[in-house]
Symmetry: C2
Subunit: 343 residues, 2 copies
DNA sequence: CTGAAAGCGCTTACAG
DNA sequence: CTGAAAGCGCTTACAG
């Protein structure tokens, strides 16, 4: 049988209160008693029971990472990178870490609050939430400390962490324009995704600032799916032969678009320049290598956990709860100057 | 304040014991009381407190996935796939799921048993454990239900799940031989990894069965690192120009080896055939695409969790606690027939 | 510096 | 079918 605080107390000849204090680092304990207790604890292989600790105190705090629609795609390791970042943060903090998956379906059968209560979650980082999810509505009015990744919200209890998708997109499309492209299409993600809205907005701004016309039919949605991107790109390029560059809302989409171009006998980047988003590993291994907007998801996860703990401790500097992480564009082979005869 | 079982009992006008029974699905409860209680619970947004439940019963069981040296590599998504599989299993079971990372360092400061006690873990699936880790020794004699992935052990309390690495390697090397190769090198992983031992053994068996000499200097270790693989392959190929094919213990190694070949002016597969292991996503995106031994890590994770629960319930069919998952070789472009002048 | 006692929110024999 | 009571392993005022 596993040793309890009572066993340790008995063998050490002290009360359980004293043992508890020693294990919680209280300072007002005689050095000798402390040593004796640690000795006995070691001997009995004693370790505090977390459940009891959680139950009897308010102090053991747990932060959760909740991954939405965690039907994990081997090509995109972003959820794992976020997990990595959150985990790293909790390791060097006093918080316990737990991980859960959720889905639209699960959200319908149990509220966010219920879920967190049930699992004794003090606060949660949520990744992959869509604006159509039940949690999204609930969280707008929640009092539970929450941090959302890649989606904005106006609730002082709710923090957000992301790159500046709009600025990054503007920068990427500006780059295409600087290479001489004038007819630039966009293969976007999903209308339900906050990031898609922002990336499209950046795309539009870049065109407008450069006095280029925004052709509504140049923007298509591929739902972040490689195969849909393939089909949609073929459609777009065959009905708009003047397009010489594509800005894609993800690398997965960009890879589908590259396949589509190849399938139509177009060369990348000679006939069509392509920029992706996320800088997943594949971006540097496909041929040609893909120019892409990089976001450091591990840092985002780490910062999200940090922000969450600040919210929990009610310790926010200047009440700023929307944190922006720097992005980076990785220039590779998939973009070229526009050809003279294409102008 | 969060509602407790006491609140529900009071409002519903019953005892807390009755509420508890309703929430635990006991059948000997009046239908009306049951409905009343659910109604009140919903109204109060009541949900049982897991910590209390864990503490007061033996029934709430938790299984943990422990990832060792979880300094996650973006190129290899295998840990995440395992996580996915374990998670899927627990979702459809009565077990709670928790996830932790560990490291050699952490293992030194806290025993496996202590770690599990502290977190109320009933049993654990461990991935990435090396034969040199402290846990490895402890687990040889542990009574705690444990399942190891990709590493064997002789303890009836400890299950293992993996593909048959030896057979898979034999098959892969046989395939190289069938394409006419006679001088086949192996770039292996690490001497501390159980899978490396097995893969090397399969390699040796294939050569021996085909009456080919095993040249000891043909086998090199790259520690599963792409850059080390690059260097080691260059060394190997320059001191043994007769080598026409390489069997690599991982795709990461294979990709390093491909780079090395290219760097030396050798073409893959014309001058050098290469087979990898794991079939990571990159395998189908590199040029040329890589022939590789595929292992379905999600299934391995799922089965590991299943095996663990069988051990916990002491329900093992015929006491078989070493489960083998089928492997598969994906044939792609990186292997060719040996050239006549190379024979 | 140390201990007795109440309490955290549940479950589970047991009695009726 | 329902309830009173003990107990799970801790923490935390409070008293000394």
């Amino acid at each position: 049988m596993r040793a309890t605080i009572r066993d340790v107390a008995k063998v050490a000849g002290v009360s359980i209160a004293t043992v508890s204090k020693v294990f919680n680092g209280y300072s007002d304990i005689n050095q000798e008693t402390k040593e004796k207790i640690f000795e006995v604890a070691k001997e009995l292989d004693y370790t505090p029971n977390m459940a009891a600790r959680t139950l009897s105190s308010k102090s053991q705090q747990t932060i959760a990472l909740i991954l939405n629609e965690f039907n994990f795609n081997r090509k995109s390791t972003m959820p794992l990178e976020v997990l990595n970042g959150v985990y790293k943060f909790t390791e060097q903090s006093d918080f316990e870490f737990v991980f859960y998956g959720t889905s639209t379906e699960k959200q319908e059968s149990k509220t966010f609050r219920q879920f967190c209560n049930e699992h004794n979650i003090t606060g949660a980082v949520i990744q992959g939430l869509k604006m159509t999810d039940p949690y999204y509505y609930e969280i707008q009015e929640t009092s539970l400390p929450t941090v959302l990744i890649d989606i904005v919200m106006d609730n002082p209890q709710v923090g957000t962490v992301s790159i500046d998708s709009e600025a990054a997109s503007l920068e990427a499309v500006n780059y295409l324009i600087s290479r001489g492209h004038q007819n630039i299409g966009m293969i976007n993600g999903s209308r339900d995704a906050n990031v898609s809205t922002l990336r499209e907005s950046g795309y539009r701004q870049a065109l407008e600032k450069n006095d280029l016309l925004v052709n509504e039919s140049y923007v298509q949605y591929a739902n972040f799916d490689e195969d849909i991107a393939f089909l949609i790109t073929k459609n777009l390029l065959s009905s708009h032969k003047e397009i010489t560059a594509l800005f894609c809302a993800s690398d997965i989409i960009a890879i589908g678009a590259m396949r589509a171009a190849r399938d139509m006998g177009k060369k990348v980047p000679e006939d069509l320049s392509i920029i992706g988003f996320d800088d997943i590993v594949l971006a540097s291994y496909v041929t040609p290598t893909l120019t892409s907007v990089a976001q450091d998801m591990e840092t985002i996860g780490f910062e999200a956990a940090k922000l969450l703990t600040e919210i929990i401790k009610d310790n926010l500097e200047e009440k700023i709860n929307h944190w922006i992480i720097p992005h980076d564009i990785h220039y590779r082979e998939s973009v070229a100057d526009v050809k003279k005869d294409q102008k």
